[in-house]
């Protein structure tokens, strides 16, 4: 295998893995959007909070790494519920504009709250396999497969599968689907809509938190990490087709790869710009995304 081939393989693998993180955050977007028609601009902050929760429990309280992850997930569930009660619920009957701005307000609050508590210096977290120091992995055909990247890909695939089974084959999943499609009808059928929406927020916060914990060993944990993660995940959601689960995953993976190749072959400093450029092009040429359908307003 030539050097450039292994380079391409390396970039592809890294891109797919980071794309997996985008996809996880994007899934959270889609869940909330499908249940409530709300776009949560604080979705990325869930990832940041999850990562900091892990830092606090593992580094601060010196808990066992896996115990800390478990407890951090519990914290994220509470965060999701509180978010639903304080942000979504009071604004549930208003138009999208106040809701967007309120979630942006929440995002400012979370970011600066984390800054006030943890300070500006970046924190480091150990990967799932191996120690804090170096990356562990295997080299196959000239491509280095970092275990943490593999973990991300496996977790993403696992969660997507579980989510599919949950929504298609369990009663609770069907109730949540019914709620997202028609709240009034669901209410008439005796489905506790408020509870379903609360569950959605909790699940989406868990997804966000988990993705934060997974990238924590790769990027540093900072109060700013959620903002870019959230925006890119949102871009992924739109490219894939808003409200579509397949679209969110495909969009996330694609953006990860585009970024990784763009940074290597075009410009590293403009790395963060590529996904947004792709998004603008997408919105202008195919606003409904890859899987989305055109909807016409009814007169």
């Amino acid at each position: 295998m030539t050097e450039s081939m292994s380079m391409v393989g390396q970039l592809l693998f890294a891109g797919l893995s980071i794309g997996g993180v985008y996809a996880l955050v994007a899934l959270g977007f889609v869940m909330i959007f499908r249940a409530t028609n709300v776009v949560n601009f604080a979705q990325g902050e869930f990832a940041m909070l999850g990562a900091y929760a892990l830092v606090a429990l593992w580094q601060g309280l010196k808990l066992d790494y896996f115990m800390a992850i478990l407890l951090a997930m519990v914290i994220m569930a509470v965060v999701g519920l509180l978010f639903e009660i304080t942000i979504y619920y009071p604004l549930r009957n208003r138009t999208f504009l106040p809701v967007i701005i309120a979630t942006i307000g929440a995002s400012i609050m979370f970011q600066n709250g984390a800054l006030a508590v943890f300070g500006p210096s970046p924190e480091k977290v150990r990967p799932v396999f191996g120690t804090e120091g170096g990356a562990s992995g295997v080299t196959l055909g000239g491509v280095f497969f970092d275990f943490q990247y593999l973990v991300i890909l496996v977790v993403t695939a696992l969660l997507v599968g579980l989510q599919y089974i949950f929504f298609e084959y369990t009663l609770l999943g069907k109730k949540m689907q019914a709620t997202s499609q028609d709240k009034d009808m669901a209410r008439l059928l005796g489905i506790p809509v408020v509870f379903m929406i609360a569950l959605t927020f909790i699940y989406s916060s868990l997804l966000g938190g988990l993705s934060g914990m997974l990238v924590a060993p790769i990027f540093f944990v900072t109060h700013k990490m959620g903002a870019t993660l959230g925006l890119k995940a949102f871009a992924a959601t739109i490219c894939g087709g808003f409200g579509d689960v397949r679209g969110a995953i495909l969009g996330g993976l694609a953006l990860g790869v585009i970024e990784s190749f763009g940074a290597a072959y075009i410009s590293a400093v403009y790395k963060d710009g590529f996904s947004f450029l792709v998004l603008i092009v997408f919105l202008l040429l195919r606003p409904q995304g890859i899987f989305g359908e055109k909807v016409a307003e009814k007169a």
Binding site: I87, F96, S107, I108, M109, G113, A116, F242, V269, Y270
Partner: protein
Amino acid sequence: MTPETSFQAYALRRLKPGHLALVLGAVVVVFLPLLFPSRYAANLLILGASWGIATLGLVIVLGYTGQISLAQAAFYGIGAYAIALGTTMVGLNWWLALVLGLFAATLAGAGLGSTTLKIGGHYLAMVTICFQIIYTLITTNWVAVTGGPDGISNIKRPPFLVPLTSAQRYAWFALGALLLVAGLVWWLRDTALGRAMRAIRENELAAEALGVDTRRVKVTAFTLSAVIGALGGAIYASGYLYISPDSFNFDHAVSFLAMALVGGSASPLGSILGAGLLAYLPEWLRDLKRIYLVIYGCAIILVIVFMPEGLWGYVKLMGRRFARPAAIPPTHRAMQVGSRGTAGEEVLRVENLFKHFGGLKAVDGVDFTIIRGEIHALIGPNGSGKTTCINLLSGLYVPTSGRIHFLGRDIVGLRPSRIACDGMARSFQNLRLFRELTVWENVLVGAQRAGGSEAEVEKRAAAALEFVGLRNKAHETCLNLPYGHQKLLELARALAGQPEILLLDEPGAGLNQTEKQELIQLLKRLNEMGLTILIVDHDMSLVSQVAMRATVLNFGKKIAEGTADQVLRHPAVVEAYLGDREVALGV
């Protein structure tokens, strides 16, 4: 009372509280820098003024037009960099650099605004964020031009009557500019363009169907907002004499949005209040520096939840006690309807019209003609394609195939606003009023389709309101009207543009018997005035009382045509409505 004196009285009453506010504002502009002469205070005034100007741009795009923009900091930055680069590296005259900056902002604003044509809502929010982030990336990384993160220093100040060397003198200049822009934005609100913007905010589809070119208005709103933002940035750059990309990043875009919302995004004065508040807030909360931004985020949420109209909402509530509603011009002549052609000619001809939604054939090969001066009914059971037909005629849908001739011209593929301007007016099955606007403003939007001076527009609107009997409700907010009045208002709004043809989609739905009789009388009077009407309704008694001819649809196909009485006795029509006679009778 002669018409002249009544018009003078009317002109006097047009003086609004805003005029007083402008005079007061001028006094404040003169005295503020005198009251706070220190360099530090003057710098804060300059900052507040430049932020206030940028926020006023958001009033146009967010407050008036209802489009979200999270890129105002980028436009602010474009203005600032134009002044910074122009007066340092290139050595241009300050005013020339300003003009170039505003021109660049115009281009960028129009470009960003044109994305609103395809997308809105969340997508628009995201596109503006992308624009903002890409802008920041470029200013940070293109070191050769922008100086990168280090920024640009030694920026020049403009010569304006006297050298503006001291911070106090420059504060006067900045506040003066703020007052000027505030006056313009306030004035814009009640112009035809400003009303069109607010109509788009309330109901874009209805605005388009009333002849508002929503594309042009939205791009204009974004462009104006960008230019005003750039002006704010230019004033900031010369005020602080040094700029760096940090002052124009996404956080600042959010700040501008927060200023507009906290103050009251639909009000120029309110948003200045918001900008001033947020400029001074860090001073007051200096002891809380670490958690200042946490409080700030929290405040945004609280304002959104508890004060939907911002601080200005409260001021307005208090002011309402003293406010005097604006006047409506006296009506001199009765309402007129469009009358470009001769009686008996074809106004509308539909040929072989098809509209398929995927596999659903909503309209499946329909043709009919409408003659000037008649009331033509389009009837049929639920789902027969009547409303789809009206949507095709008014341009909201583009037909799969077929021809529609309106006043001798093929209108297939024209935008709804073009068709409306040609003289087609319509009502909607589910009311589509501009809910937050007053009754008077609703009718004005309808009236401005026919063009002419503001005085003519107002006269037409007054006549239309008089015709439906809602003149005494003119200053009520639309959403406070009872349903029956809302229906009448929609009719008045459609009539105010003096249409050649009026399409009514279920005008009788939801009305009680008395209201229905009033509607029938109104329609008959309109018809006597020479107006051509196409009416879609289920109510056969209403249809048979007003319609001269009728076309019956079922499953998207025409099944009968003729005078109203003929059609209602037609066996196919009876079958369509009541089912097969023999099946019904159990034979």
